[in-house]
Symmetry: C2
Subunit: 197 residues, 2 copies
């Protein structure tokens, strides 16, 4: 019979164990040390300059990472359910966050301390395999994401966005999509009109 806490992190376990199952001790260590976290739309998970202490799993909701460029913000990623979210620059625990992370919907997260991850990697070295595969996956995703904004024309960028993020296109306000594509909301609006003939 599954307790409440178990139910909350079960979803995360599924993602972690898709490549390799975890031994019971690791599962227990996770259950005891991860904590649920709720964020309301608009709340910040992390601010630029913070020293990140955890990685977060998104059970429900969507978040974005952004930086500031002369007063206007640039969304560098948008993430939703079943993905991990973290300050990428601070992943190694040695550097501070470059990006600010904001909930763009009400979110249910699971917080996994960096120290816990280090401990697990250390005590149960086989978990490095999962870490390796997940990072490889996230690295590939980061590159695919980065590719979108390298195309010169706004229209081309939006089309690529629709291909890669179609599931989010009717869920996320256009201002975040525009900012993610490196264009203004007005330009995005015009591109959308053009595409719909």
């Amino acid at each position: 019979m599954m307790t409440k806490v178990n139910a909350e992190i079960y979803q995360m376990m599924l993602v972690l164990e898709q490549y390799s199952s975890l031994r019971e001790e690791v599962r227990e260590l996770l259950m005891e040390n991860v904590t649920p976290l709720k964020l309301q739309k608009g709340e910040l998970l992390m601010k630029s300059g913070d020293a990140p202490s955890a990685v977060y799993f998104v059970r429900r909701g969507a978040l974005r990472g952004f930086i500031d460029d002369e007063g206007k913000d640039i969304t560098t990623w948008i993430t939703a359910e079943n993905e991990f979210v973290a300050s990428i620059s601070g992943l190694d625990g040695s550097t501070s966050a470059v990006q600010t992370i904001e909930a763009i919907e009400d979110c249910d997260l699971v917080q996994m301390p960096l120290l816990l991850m280090e401990k697990i990697y250390e005590l149960y070295p086989e978990t490095n395999r999962i870490g390796r595969i997940l990072f490889q996956q996230y690295y590939m995703d980061a590159e695919r994401r980065a590719l979108i904004v390298r195309y010169a024309k706004a229209e081309q960028r939006y089309k690529l966005f629709l291909e890669q993020y179609g599931h989010l296109s009717n869920r996320i306000p256009l201002k975040f999509i525009a900012s993610f594509l490196g264009i203004t909301i007005e330009t995005l609006s015009r591109v959308r009109r053009k595409i719909l003939h």
Copy 2:
């Protein structure tokens, strides 16, 4: 006493072992299965659409990855000595290369087959730790790289490039730098003039 082959991959070993040393069997497996590869300036290591079969370590020289956007190419990364180079999209062995990889200087590479890597991960699971740390590092680098082109102004992008790639700024032709920054060589030239007052 070190043989010629050993000398050639010694440099790569140093990078691999910076986080965790390799046991002798792994070293031998690497020595026997990696092969040196020379590329002349302008030669392609891999073309968009290829099924990548290896990862490459750069002993000497510089390379770039690029994609095509309506006839002009967009450089997505530039890499030099002591880094690994690969089709990022094809890293998992299941997808084909999105980018074309070109030597922008004469290069000495070490070719490490993906199958060899899989075999090593499998036979010597502790090597997953090195893989995990390297991917984490490359993931962070990819994000930092991607950040540059998200700034709106060409001048700001070039300044960030100088901060992050200062060591390459007088080594790489401006056409590649411009293409990496998502601007034309003419704009880059004007930005450079402006910065020098």
